[in-house]
Symmetry: C2
Subunit: 215 residues, 2 copies
């Protein structure tokens, strides 16, 4: 079977030369993507230009096409990476098996979401809004996104936010707080301070028993 230049995953131990070459290639790709993130954080998500990107990694823009098929391919990689980050951030275990009540866990989960989103507005835009003209995620990347959001739904169900309408309401309130924080008080905490209150309000609406039991 011929090597697949697309995946670059497997590397048989019988070809150490190719291993090193492949490893180098993967490192360079990662370097390019990292530079792309830096660039969009400065210029905005739509401000990613191949020339500038090349300059930043110390190549001519044209050379990037040896690593990525197109600009869309770079966006796609960023999109997938962002959802993988989202997933591992949201699923992080609490330290050394501490036990919390469902209410506390719901609060921690919501803060984790809020902080993840507001800590990188451009990433948030890529994850949850549709503002890049012409960008369409590949099937593979889209599947990663769906998995990540499914996992979130399960986490919410575990702490009392169960059912489509409850999840929709939670999503609306949390993204609403996030959006306002990013748009109207970037770097501040004007809406961050409202997260606890909003989550308790939500739980009171969708899981009143939980709140009663805690009183």
């Amino acid at each position: 079977m011929a090597r697949d230049p697309g995946t670059e995953a497997s590397a048989s131990s019988s070809t150490p030369q190719l291993d090193r070459r492949t490893a180098r290639r993967i490192r360079t790709k990662a370097e390019i993507v990292e530079a792309a993130w830096d660039l969009v954080r400065e210029e905005g998500l739509a401000g990613l230009a191949m020339r500038d990107l090349g300059k930043r990694v110390g190549m001519k823009a044209q050379s990037i096409y040896s690593y990525f098929e197109s600009k869309n391919d770079i966006y796609d990689t960023m999109f997938r990476d962002a959802y993988l980050d989202f997933n591992s951030t949201m699923e992080a275990e609490n330290e050394d098996g501490e036990r919390f009540s469902d209410v506390d866990t719901a609060l921690r989960l919501s803060h984790r979401f809020f902080d993840f989103c507001t800590s990188d507005p451009v990433r948030y835009q890529l994850l949850f809004q549709r503002t890049i003209p012409d960008f369409v995620p590949s099937e593979e990347s889209y599947a990663v996104a769906v998995d990540a959001l499914d996992a979130l739904t399960n986490q919410l169900a575990d702490v009392g936010v169960a059912g489509d309408e409850s999840v929709d309401l939670w999503t609306a309130v949390l993204t609403g707080l996030t959006d306002q924080q990013i748009s109207n008080d970037p770097g501040g905490d004007r809406w961050k301070r409202l997260v606890d209150r909003a989550v308790l309000m939500l739980l009171g609406e969708v899981a009143p028993d939980l709140i009663e039991a805690t009183k």
Copy 2:
């Protein structure tokens, strides 16, 4: 005093020729802005190109510069118009002086906001998000925006949503519902159906007396 080509508002009755000319000019400007709205609704807010705009109004792109100083000037006009629309929509009186309870009025106000926003996603984007690269509203237009939002704050206070934190919470929840509706179910009603529930939940949090009194 010389005529001010910037405002085009006053027209003395002693110069009917100029009146007609000015009126025509104003109509053409309005026509261009209308075409610009059509265009961004099809191509997205960032997809406004002078060429296409010219084509749509039956001129060469270059001729538009006789009416607007720059592309930014066109965006600025759209921005101001959108806030004026927002204002008049939100301040519309109820029919023939009907009286409603504060809870009912809060619900009507919230639905009006939600419907205004979701009925024109591009306008919503221009009003409440920052996604046009390099666009900065003029001082005059910015003042219109501030006035409109102040008016909204006053309306909210009248129906029991008073105080900075309460207003911030209302704003976050309503824009959150709006965003989700636009992004994830355009043209549908998946989040519209949650507006009543969300508003009652909010009022229970920020004006519990109001809800108690209604029971």
